[in-house]
Amino acid sequence: MRVATQSLYRGIQQNILRLSSELKKIEDKVSSGKNFNRPSDNPVAVVNSLGLRGTLARIEQYQKNLQTGNQWLDMNETVLEQVSSLAARAQDIALQLSSGTQTAEVRAAAVSEIDHLLGEAIGLGNTQLNGKYIFGGYRTAIPPFARSVSGGIESVYYQGDGNDFQVRIGPNETITAGKNGETVFMDSNLFAGLLDLKQAIADNDQTAIEEQSTILQEATDYFNAQVSDVGIRQSRLKIKGEIFGQFNLQLQNQVDDLENVDYSQAILELKEKQTAYEVALAAAAKISEVSLLNYL
């Protein structure tokens, strides 16, 4: 085929341009460390990586949610353990007093201790976490438990509501991080038990003291059951946390594999292109040397 002089140069020009654009692509890769910098570089991989990054961001949020859940449950655990031992202590007192007739002094001391325990139990019921009352259901701004005396009869009443605090720990999964005070305290009859016990001791009513001892025993069991219930939920969060931790690591690895340049390969490619580019430049220089003019 006849070759026009212009074609020779055009060929060189276009090859050099093509090689330099390929060279730039690889240089971009190597310098940015990324396999792709825009969707068109590799649409399928980009969509994959967007999906992975989305999941990663969600998991990081779930991990934060787990922290919130753990805070609540840890606080619950501490409080419930204390309340349980408090109930046990009250039962102890009841047992001691039911064993025989006591002096007025002993009874007065017992009454004051029970009263003190009641105050402490109410205080525990009004535990705050970051300024929120955790046993008030959704009413976290006001102390859920209060004492009142009407007509000479003392009582403890609940001013929270019956809702439990949920934390999201997965796409379609929530966990109860805090149960309401109705369930936790009122259903245990602890307050009523303590009040009745106080009254019974004051009245020196042996049968009533024994009755309250049973009620307090039941309350202790009830709180212990709740402690283990909290424990179950804590271990559920722990497992979730481990899963998310592993998942997070895996996803991070996948994102890295997908997005990050394999340097050994990229640098090899870069070398190849550089050589090709140099050869093309050298050829360009040679071509302009060859001409009939040299021999005329």
Partner: protein, 483 residues
């Protein structure tokens, strides 16, 4: 004596022919790098012989014509591919700009801000009474709505740029068609004597190639040597010495000032590319972005209005509520939602009005916040996906089921695929054009070595003819010395 003077005439004719051949060769050499130049050649022919005593004697050489080595078929193919290449180039460059607007692989992209928005809702769910979390949610929402607004704004900006391009393009376009009509006339005049107007034809071909870069055309040369040019859709642009101007007015393209839009007659080339971008590609991106924003407003507001603010009030919108039809965006028609989306005046600056509560305004109630955060992973949403084709005359929508993220990521994927496709098409047509140009140049292009050889041939012929004159001179002298 007669024979001797004939020899002198032959030698003189040979000198002249060699000079003419040299002239053509130097013209070729001079134009070795001129784009669109077609190599020429002086065609030598023997003079008609004369008869003497039943014998035929040749009368030397003459230049019959100067022809050009023109490859009409390849040239036409090159013109067609030029318009395809320009169309792809135009689209590829705009698409690459759109990609960088979305900046999906970098920070603060729409996808990322959307994720942060949902996470902020979960933050509120973790501490529904906390003002810090509520304020953070409002901040993230503001960033999200602004991202929607600015993307929608940028897309509009591209549409506006296309209009400016079209307006400017028209002027150059008209200049070219006018020039072609003008050359038609000059070629007609030049070729009225039996010769070809080689260089004028080169100029005209060059202009036809340039015009092909603007729009896909077809052309036909009539017996007078004038070309008739029309768009591939059949709209006449040049006929004889006449051309028809296009003008861009009020988003329409008029021909010859007649107020009726002829843009559908223009396909391919830069003009066709700009029109496709203006009427198909960008509107489709905008429409799908609107669907995303509209679905977000709808889903969030439906739950939010049912929830309770800290004050216990309910029925509050989170995002500015839809307009009443026929205004858009409305609950049924999300057009313009991406530009419209903003926080409602009830929650803007009032974090306490965020309806985190599902049953009450109590500070511990996080039910609604949990529900709203769950929209993120709700895979049962059905979102309209628009396909805009045929320069906006065909609008079809289909329903996609999935999460908002799924929908968004699919659109990004499609954007990447389209952009990749345009780049690949562009590379392909570019290399095809290079091949075609090589084929054309193998016929029409100047090869310096070839011209130099021709030059040597002409030079030697010239020297030989001069020698003849010298010899004839000697012959005449010896004749003179007879006596």
């Amino acid at each position: 004596m007669q024979v001797i003077s004939t020899i002198l005439n032959i030698a003189q004719g040979a000198l002249q022919a060699s000079q003419m051949a040299m002239q053509t060769i130097s013209h070729n050499i001079a134009n070795v790098n001129t784009p669109g130049y077609t190599r020429q050649k002086a065609v030598l022919e023997p003079q008609s012989p004369y008869t003497l005593d039943r014998l035929k004697f040749g009368l030397g050489v003459k230049v019959d014509s100067v022809v050009q080595f023109f490859d009409a078929f390849t040239t036409r193919t090159i013109h067609q591919n030029t318009s395809t290449l320009k169309e792809y180039e135009t689209k590829a460059s705009v698409l690459s700009y759109v990609e960088s607007l979305w900046n999906e692989m970098g920070g603060s992209s729409l996808g990322q801000t959307l994720g942060e928005f949902w996470n902020a809702w979960q933050g509120v769910a973790n501490n529904p009474g906390g003002m810090t979390e509520r304020a953070a949610l409002l901040e993230k929402s503001k960033i999200l709505t602004q991202r929607f607004n600015s993307l929608s704004n940028e897309l509009e900006g591209i549409e506006r740029n296309m209009k400016t391009n079209l307006q400017m393009g028209m002027e150059e376009f008209n200049q070219i068609t006018k020039e072609i009509a003008n050359l038609n006339e000059r070629i007609l005049a030049a070729e009225s004597s039996p010769t070809t107007a080689n260089d004028l034809r080169d100029q005209r071909n060059r202009l036809l190639e340039e015009l092909s870069g603007w729009v896909d055309i077809s052309y036909l040369e009539d017996s007078n040597g004038m070309v008739m040019v029309q768009t591939s859709e059949g709209m006449l642009l040049v006929n004889g010495n006449r051309n028809w101007d296009l003008s861009f007015e009020e988003n329409s393209i008029y021909r010859n000032g007649v107020p009726s839009d002829v843009s559908e007659e223009l396909t391919g080339g830069e003009l066709g590319g700009w029109l496709d971008i203006r009427d198909e590609i960008i509107p489709q991106y905008a429409a799908n972005l609107d669907e995303l924003a509209g679905t977000l407003i709808q889903q969030v507001n439906t739950l939010h209005t049912a929830g309770y603010a800290l004050s216990g009030s309910t029925g509050v919108s989170f995002f500015q509520d839809f307009l009443t039809p026929p205004s858009v965006p409305s609950a049924a028609d999300f057009r313009g939602a991406a530009a419209y989306i903003s926080l409602s005046s009830d929650v803007l600056g009032h974090p306490e009005n965020i309806a985190a509560g599902g049953v009450s305004g109590e500070p511990g109630d996080n039910e609604n916040a949990l529900n709203i955060a769950a929209i993120q992973t709700d895979g049962t949403l059905t979102i309209r996906k628009w396909a805009i084709e045929d320069r906006g005359r065909s609008l079809t929508s289909s329903l996609e089921t999935g999460t908002l993220d799924d929908y968004y990521q699919s659109r990004i994927g499609e954007m990447g695929i389209l952009s990749e496709e345009m780049n690949e098409n562009q590379d392909f047509v570019q290399s095809l054009l290079t091949r075609l140009e090589e084929v054309r140049d193998s016929v029409s292009g100047v090869n310096l070595d070839e011209e130099l050889t021709e030059m040597m041939k002409a030079q030697h012929a010239y020297e030989a003819a001069s020698k003849i004159i010298a010899v004839v001179d000697e012959m005449l002298q010896s004749l003179m010395q007879l006596r």
